[in-house]
Symmetry: D2
Subunit: 347 residues, 4 copies
């Protein structure tokens, strides 16, 4: 089979370079263009010395026309706001796009504009598919524009979806308490928040109840008829990668741990990348670092009639780049685990 | 003023050695005995090389009679279960005790025995004072037996007490999501849970809804008439010290952020060690490392009518050893901040 | 091609589990047996939860007869002293062995016994091949018993070999200052040295001038006629994986940086896993984490007529498990990079 | 005794804020002015939230005239190049200055200009005292201008001075291999070098044989007649604070470990802040974090007739801010350990 040609925009960000790592071993695609903005003109192995001796290509300007000429598939690892114009042009050129930004994740233009600002291609919002295969696999097949979910929403939605769908949870009771590694802040904007000495040996909370990933969680957890609202609390952890999400919901009526386990086991039993842990086990982010896995642990607090679900993902894996590859595999009809079958490097 | 003589049991644990650091600069006490169990016969600076050239004393066996002969005040940094017999003997000998274990924190023998096992000195439970000055300062004055609060309960209770006392919160709605450094696991028992390579670059959950610190939180948050229950979720963070607690409660009725801030500012305005942060600010554990401070940030999620309070303490500071010194200062009528006026070493 | 059957002894150690990760993607081998000692009877995914849902096989006792019946190739990731008996039996049974221990690395029984203790199979010392392809590729082809080099020696020898071979260095002037992650201490023996709180935020030196890896370095750097001696200083770094080696040698006569670079470029130009960095660049361990790469940076200190070579490896990669796979590939005539073509997970 | 008034320039850097921590507990001084450049106009507790509730003063512009009017003593925690003009003005105004920059550390204008650039106040070079009490205590007494040594030189010089002074070492044989925490890079300039994700889990080398601290080491180690040259190799370690220096020197003639230990014990026996560890012990940086201590371990490599000395300091402690306080204490005739008697916060 001829390899399909792929362009990567935003190749010099953490999401881009993780994608390059994965695509190097993908048998059905060939990366023909690395594009960047501040890094245009530099070699990728100068930007990322761990690629020395492996990949010496030069990063080009983010020229959408050239990319659409060369490549059939475009990964757009660009910031929200920047991405939408670019994506619209690539859609118009008939290309298939995996968009890493938030620009096409929300169905509601109003919700987008409330949290992010003006949207310049709102007509594409209904066309875009939310790239979470566990909820939207059928729509992803053959999709042209796939909005890769946010890292926090991925962990939160996978944690709570089976319980909400099964009607176990009061729809206004959900709390998402997430703990993220620092790479979620990206590489290009250097701030005190990513300064080693300020982050190291510290855990902190930020943007509680105001974070922009909230509407994404609410949209997806409201798929089954009831309007779900979420209190979302992100925290910064002194580690590079990973998100642990502790999700809380009030149970509508008493349910046993075994019943909950069965609901989750059924929901995810066929999923290649979601592991429901044995009863009594709880996940750790390091178990999934560098992978596309989401590990899920379940607790029923009978004293308080509350369900607690803990999910672990790699924010740059199932939370971003490997999720995009999973979507591409599905969209193209390739085996879903292609290029995604590695386990974590341990320790 | 003559210095009061003090003995430290469990001197070779992390709580003990932190206490030694603080008492070195305490003008009113003199540590006359370091006792330990597995370390008896060793020099403290062999056990802790950072004390080389500073403190070369030998650790003795944990002999309560000898300690009571030598010292007026006894710090018992011993495991729960072990501590109670020892404390009972020291009480009988008329000594003043600061107990770091859980053995005298709960007023209810039944609650103790449900979570910890048999209690051999239940008659002292009503006599012991819960050493959280922000709630029990008056009782601490002159107290003979002070139960130093658990690290998690300290962060949780300080976060929620003003809101519960003011009647803002539904009493069955409280969730305590805590993130702790590894030193909470102690030094003496070496397990994979404290192995650098297993903890490093990972965040994990454990003992959700079953942790033994739960009844302590519920006891103290039920002081104002309503019976409060708590879902408690501890997490392990790749750092040595610190606990960040994110506490959630359903608001009984709408309240503004400004109103909540005023309630907290009033509750803690006179407290030397609790800082209510400016509106919009959230705490980080590193800000309080090595100190007796508790920093508190407040968020009202109006969309979900929920209060979120984030507290940061050092689990070995306000969560243990410096809290004990604060209690001693109060109990003895010394200035409350004696030996506790340092700020964090930054960064 | 039929897959060759492989047994892994010591599968539950860090070297073993890294090997399992690599062999999962090796097209020419199949792991048919995982053996362990303290973990026998447990499932590998209970010992290593990151394998949950991926590998649920049970670890067996380390029975050499059974292993030799089932498998053609045996990876022995066992401690020195333990390994030699086992290896001798497997050699007698005609199996091919990759030994991770120190037992067959030294040609001199006397050197072995001076540093490690009695050797029970000294007759195999001359038969074993030192598994550093950059120096011994020809001997590795078809070899039955391959002694995988120690992690520190790999970094040190690769750093200094080209300069010593070219006669640039005074043979008694070499200093090896190495900085290692904590995983080098293994997983099974829990000590304060691996306790998170003791290692975190600290760098320390240990075993300077007495470490057992010294004779291995001296043996290999003396391959070209002159007897080389080495002062070796290992250090412990608060990270899980990686060794950075800073190697110093007195130059016999003036040489330019360009000349040295050419010598190294020539020595390693054909090597698939050794990268000589551009002049002016120095390596970092994270660039090679999880890979079989060794990155090398060169400095000539003209003021002091000294050569400084800095090498970076992953102690569990090129320093152990992936090095073993590289040797196997060579020994069997498979493409040398089989299963070893990944780049580091970044960041 | 009236407190002496002190101004701190560069108060918002890591050196400045560490100094503020120490001076808060200094009984003989009062900080009357905090000055900064980019932070002027901000409150110090906004710049450093760990000071919330403790110090709410506003940072002023770095106005030397005003500072000299208000304060008798000026700590100048400014970058090299910037500092010298400022210092010259303060000297002219008759103030006592502790300069944290490199501007007055070198006796040789030529050496300064070779490594740093033009010097605008060379006439002060001979007047300035190098603030290492272990070598220059007498000169520090009453000194007006004290150049606080660089962090790397402090660790290197304290490691090697006794051996060089005793004539044990070949003067052209010294290698200084140093391992530093990230805070040495400062807080204000944000680069990839201090980005958490790039530093975390990695050790790297930089500026080998070219680092600007080299001439400082050579100047001080040449105090006893022989001209010493040094090869200096700095490394970056994933921790916030601390420098471990492994110093190597060729022994002129055979000497035993016991003899070396005696030479060091004699050299530092009266020093309040240098601990020569027991034979066989090697230091770790965490043992001295937040303190003014320098811990020293000694190894004689008899096989190679080489001395290895390992020193541990806190780069912001004995390597900068607490060293400045020690110098001030000596200069003013106050007890040398004033405000410096704490031990490390452990763990």
């Amino acid at each position: 089979m001829d390899k399909v040609q792929v362009a990567v925009f935003g190749a010099a960000g953490y999401g881009g370079v993780e994608l390059l790592r994965l695509l190097r071993r993908h048998p059905y695609v060939e990366v023909v263009r690395l594009a960047g903005h501040t890094t245009a003109g530099e070699r990728i192995d100068e930007v990322y010395p761990h690629l020395a001796g492996v990949d010496g290509r030069t990063i080009t300007e983010s020229n959408v026309e050239e990319a659409c000429t060369e490549a059939e598939i475009i990964f757009a690892a660009l910031p929200h706001g920047t991405s939408m114009e670019f994506v619209a042009a690539a859609v118009a050129a008939g290309r298939q796009i995996l968009d890493f930004s938030a620009d096409f994740r929300l169905r509601s233009r109003q919700a987008y504009e409330q949290y992010y600002g003006e949207h310049v291609a709102p007509e594409l919002l209904s066309q875009a598919v939310y790239g979470l295969p566990e909820l939207h696999r059928t729509e992803i097949v053959g999709a042209q524009l796939i909005a890769v979910p946010g890292c926090y929403p991925t962990g939160a939605i996978l944690a709570m979806a089976p319980a909400v769908r099964a009607g176990l949870i009061e729809p206004d009771s959900i709390i998402i308490d997430s703990k993220s590694g620092v790479s979620g802040a990206g590489r290009s904007k250097l701030t005190l928040t990513t300064h080693f000495c300020e982050v190291d040996e510290s855990v902190s909370a930020y943007n509680i109840a105001t974070h922009r990933h909230t509407p994404e969680m609410e949209q997806e957890l409201s798929l089954w008829g009831e309007s779900v609202t979420v209190t979302f609390s992100p925290h910064l952890i002194p580690m590079s990668r990973g998100i642990l999400t502790t999700a809380y919901g009030k149970l509508r009526s008493a349910v046993t741990a075994a019943e909950v386990h069965e609901i989750y086991a059924e929901a995810y039993g066929e999923e290649p990348f979601v592991h429901v842990l044995s009863p009594g086990k709880l996940p750790a982010t390091k178990h999934v670092t560098g992978t596309n896995f989401c590990n899920i642990g379940l607790v029923v607090d009978e004293r308080n009639q509350r369900l607690i679900v803990v999910s672990a993902i790699d924010n740059l894996g199932k939370g971003l780049s490997s999720a995009a590859v999973q979507c591409l595999n599905i969209a193209r009809g390739w085996p879903e685990t292609t290029a995604l079958d590695d386990v974590a490097v341990w320790p």
